[in-house]
């Protein structure tokens, strides 16, 4: 039984017991008092009557008259005169008079009317004794009315006591609940602090818990910072702080492979012309300055545009990946113009060449890089600050206007031209954990089902992501309901900002509460960083339904979200860019290992995305990762084709 319920019962029991006890005592003492009064009255009246009778000189008629007169006052049940020889000389008796008190009460609290007895004589001659018994009905009336009064008064007192008790219990309950909730949250891996209550015992408890939580926070923060350092070491160029080649290529691969990655975009390759010559002529320090200047010119792109990333591929080469089509050439030209002003001031003969390509989702990273290399080679041959564009890609659907896009997405949703594709996520024993189910839309009738990369940016612009996500969840619920398989749906970061989103998902999940436990929902790490409060709110609203909630595409900013453990999440999926090549790169392995350890410490499950070969997979299992997905996994499972 819960503590509060016990307190409640204790209080109720005490009040009831006090009530019953005081009513009993009140009734009993009133009964005793009335009984005593009756006895005294009987005795007194008997004595007075006997005195009067003793003065009649033994005249039986006069004595009978006196006794009748006394009896006829109506207060007596019986008056009896017994002669000295034991014979009854006179008796008057009435039956019981009805009273206002109920019979059960009379039988429960009987009032005895003890007879009063006195001796009657005529001079020295003993005549006998007279016995007087008063009526009890008025005593019963009095006792009944008094009992009702005291019961009512005590009931009022009891109610007041109960009311005060309720207030006190509420006062205790509030901080107790919050402490219990904190403890629950701790178990669920959610490390939050709560305000200290005023009740001293609970205050100490809460203070201890809060202290523990903040210590944990410090510890996790420290670990996260260490990881951040590791991550930088593993993926950054030391001089410029930009991504190194491996990391950049990992990011490029991930963005081309992901369902919600870049559908179309551009890539700019930039090369310092004759870096060896610059080194030789101007010195090592000046060459470094050149490199840093170029990095500074490039950095604003990745900082300002979402989905834009860049890297230093080797000593002289930089790459910039743009998430938007048809801007590669302008970007390259703008960079060329800016650098042609900046670089000559560092030394004569310092120049760059730029190659730009448009990229599409169906290209491999190798194709993109070789096309860009080819363009760069052409630019180099044209001289300093030249810009060359690679072959023009075919026209895309993106050429359509925004209104038309909105129309198409909406129609696809309304007409049900949607379906989920399944990618297995398995654990080290190759057991299926859940199916990752991205939504695909058939934008054109009879056309292909397109991945999110094609339509998501436009859905974001058209504010249709909430409808899309809701539909994906509904589909997942239906499919999970039919085959009992756990399914994972990713939610768009844009949906989080919609105020009705959480409520709509919640309503859907409550409709099929049993299947809700099979559903996993995830948002991208970027959303967790930018809309942490919204994510926390979503978690608070959805977790009671039994769904699992997690973060996908994680790794780049894990160190930046120290509050991750406050969000109440279940799992984290590490981005392909982070785990790519983990089997062959010591730094990456260290980073992934540290991340897994940290996240396990926060009671979060850790999964890897985009595992593409066996070496990486083996390294990941050795790190203790809980599950993995990706082309290699899918191929092993013999399920869907690689995404």
């Amino acid at each position: 039984m819960s503590l509060i319920r016990q307190i409640w019962l204790l209080m109720l029991g005490t009040v009831l017991l006090a009530f019953a006890g005081s009513v009993t005592v009140a009734v009993e003492s009133a009964r005793g008092y009335l009984q005593t009064q009756l006895r005294l009255k009987n005795a007194d009246n008997a004595t007075s009557l006997a005195l009067a009778l003793s003065q009649q000189k033994g005249d039986k008629e006069l004595m009978a008259l006196l006794m009748s007169a006394q009896f006829d006052t109506g207060f007596y049940r019986r008056i009896r005169f017994t002669g000295a020889d034991g014979s009854v000389g006179f008796v008057r008796e009435t039956q019981a008079t009805p009273t206002s008190a109920p019979t059960w009460f009379i039988s429960l609290a009987p009032i005895e009317s003890e007879p009063g007895v006195a001796q009657v004589s005529d001079g020295w001659r003993a005549l006998g004794k007279v016995e007087v018994v008063s009526h009890t009905y008025f005593a019963y009336d009095e006792l009944w009315a008094g009992s009702l009064r005291s019961a009512f008064a005590l009931a009022v007192v009891g109610l007041i006591a109960g009311g005060v008790g309720t207030l006190v219990v509420r006062r205790i309950r509030k901080p107790l609940d919050s402490t219990v909730e904190q403890a629950h949250a701790l178990v669920a891996g959610e490390f939050r602090t709560v305000p200290e209550p005023r009740v001293p015992e609970l205050q100490r408890l809460t203070r201890a818990m809060n202290t523990m939580v903040s210590r944990l926070r410090v510890t996790f923060q420290a670990q996260a910072e260490q990881l951040d350092t590791l991550h930088k070491q593993a993926s950054c160029d030391r001089l410029t702080g930009l991504s190194n080649r491996a990391h950049f290529l990992g990011q490029l691969t991930a963005s081309l492979q992901r369902e919600d990655g870049t559908a179309e975009g551009g890539l700019v390759l930039l090369r310092v012309l004759d870096l060896a010559g610059v080194n030789r002529n101007l010195g090592h320090a000046a060459a470094d300055r050149v490199i840093v200047t170029i990095a500074q010119a490039l950095r604003p792109y990745s900082e300002r545009a979402k989905g834009c990333f860049l890297g230093r591929l080797n000593g002289s080469d930089f790459a910039l990946c743009l998430p938007v089509p048809n801007v590669a050439r302008e970007t390259a030209q703008a960079l060329s113009d800016a650098l042609s002003v900046l670089l000559p001031s560092l030394g004569s003969g310092v120049a760059v060449g730029l190659g730009a390509v448009e990229l599409r989702r169906d290209m491999t990273p190798g194709q993109v890089m070789s096309a860009a290399d080819a363009a760069l080679a052409r630019a180099e041959s044209r001289g300093p600050f030249a810009v060359e564009l690679g072959s023009e890609p075919a026209n895309s659907v993106a050429m359509l206007g925004e209104g038309a896009w909105r129309q198409r997405i909406r129609e696809a949703l309304v007409q049900g031209r949607v379906h989920l594709v399944n990618f297995p996520v398995v654990n080290a024993r190759r057991e299926l954990i859940h199916l990752e189910c991205p939504l695909r839309l058939q934008l054109e009738e009879q056309g292909a089902f397109e991945p999110a990369a094609r339509w998501l940016p436009l859905a974001v612009r058209s504010r249709l992501t909430v409808d899309v996500d809701e539909r994906a969840l509904a589909l997942a619920l239906a499919e999970a309901g039919s085959d009992g398989q756990a399914r994972c749906v990713n939610l768009s970061p844009a949906s989080l900002t919609d105020s009705g989103f959480a409520a709509r998902l919640r309503a859907l999940l409550w409709d099929s509460p049993r299947i809700a436990r099979l559903i996993w929902l995830e948002v991208a790490e970027i959303a967790a960083v930018e809309h942490f409060d919204l994510l926390q709110e979503l978690s608070r609203q959805l977790r009671p339904t039994g769904v699992h909630l997690g973060i996908e595409h994680a790794g780049e900013r894990l160190g930046l979200i120290p509050r991750l453990f406050e969000a109440g999440l279940d799992y984290v999926k590490l981005d392909a860019a982070v785990i790519d090549g983990v089997g062959s790169d010591e730094h990456r392995l260290t980073f992934v290992h540290g991340t897994v350890t940290l996240l396990h410490g926060l009671s979060l499950q850790v999964y890897a995305e985009g595992v593409s070969n066996e070496i990486d997979a083996k390294a990941l299992w050795d790190c203790g990762i809980d599950g993995a997905t990706g082309p290699w996994i899918s191929a092993q499972q013999g399920a869907q084709p690689a995404p």
Binding site: T36, R39, L40, A43, T47, A50, L51, S54, G83, A84, D85, G86, E112, E114, P115, V117, A118, Q119, S121, G123, W124, R125, A126, L127, K129, E131
Partner: protein, 229 residues
């Protein structure tokens, strides 16, 4: 018997056993109606003089057990008339009217008319006299011959049969006389404890608050506590 009562505890058990045997052998004999141990304890609480009084009274009562009623009346009447000096309540108790219990009277060695009557009444009940034969009577007494002073007085009357002429136990004239030979007394009202304890358990007297309400009840309660009845 007098000497035996003083023996110490282990021997006392033999005494009770002996009494029980006598009781079995003589079925017609009146049974003892007082608690001698309780009486001694109550006397000890009052004073050594009360103890001496009780020690003097007990052999008289024990002897009276075997007597007929007339002899019992003689013995009890003589014991109290001899042992108790007549004194006004104001002198003895400092109150206008005080009804003392038998042991209180024995303690003071003095009392007025009702103290005599009360002590005799309880002693007679103790030796097995039926309560219906005894009455305490308020009388108007003329002291010192036909022209003497008229005073309020109390005597104990013994009725050998219901409606018969009573014998009067008095402290003014110590001799037992039938009522007709006491022209100096005019009876006013009589009472006894018959029916007074109806519905009340034997031990209730001490704790019963109403027992203290009238003089008569108070004395009854005190006498009970002293082991009478």
């Amino acid at each position: 018997m007098h000497a035996r009562l003083r023996v110490r505890r282990p021997a006392r058990q033999w005494l009770w056993a002996g009494l029980a045997v006598i009781g079995l052998l003589c079925p017609g004999m009146p049974t003892q109606a007082w608690d001698s141990e309780r009486m001694m304890l109550a006397a000890k609480r009052i004073s050594p003089r009360a103890v001496a009084g009780a020690q003097a009274l007990q052999p008289v009562l024990t002897q009276a057990l075997d007597m007929n009623e007339a002899a019992q009346l003689q013995a009890v009447n003589a014991f109290f008339n001899r042992r108790i000096l007549f004194r006004d309540d104001t002198e003895v108790w400092g109150q206008v009217d005080y009804w003392a219990s038998p042991l209180e009277t024995l303690d003071k060695g003095a009392g007025d008319c009702e103290d005599y009557a009360i002590a005799k009444y309880f002693s007679l009940l103790a030796v097995g006299m039926p309560v219906s034969k005894l009455r305490l009577v308020y009388v108007r007494a003329q002291i010192g011959g036909p022209q003497g002073a008229l005073v309020a007085h109390m005597v104990l009357a013994y009725y050998a049969a219901p409606g018969a002429e009573p014998l009067i136990l008095d402290n003014l004239i110590t001799e037992l006389r039938p009522a007709s030979r006491r022209p100096d007394l005019v009876p006013v009202f009589s009472f006894n404890s018959e029916g007074l304890w109806q519905g009340v358990g034997p031990q209730a007297a001490g704790g019963d608050p109403t027992a203290r309400l009238s003089r008569w009840r108070e004395v009854l309660a005190k006498a009970r506590a002293e082991g009478f009845q």
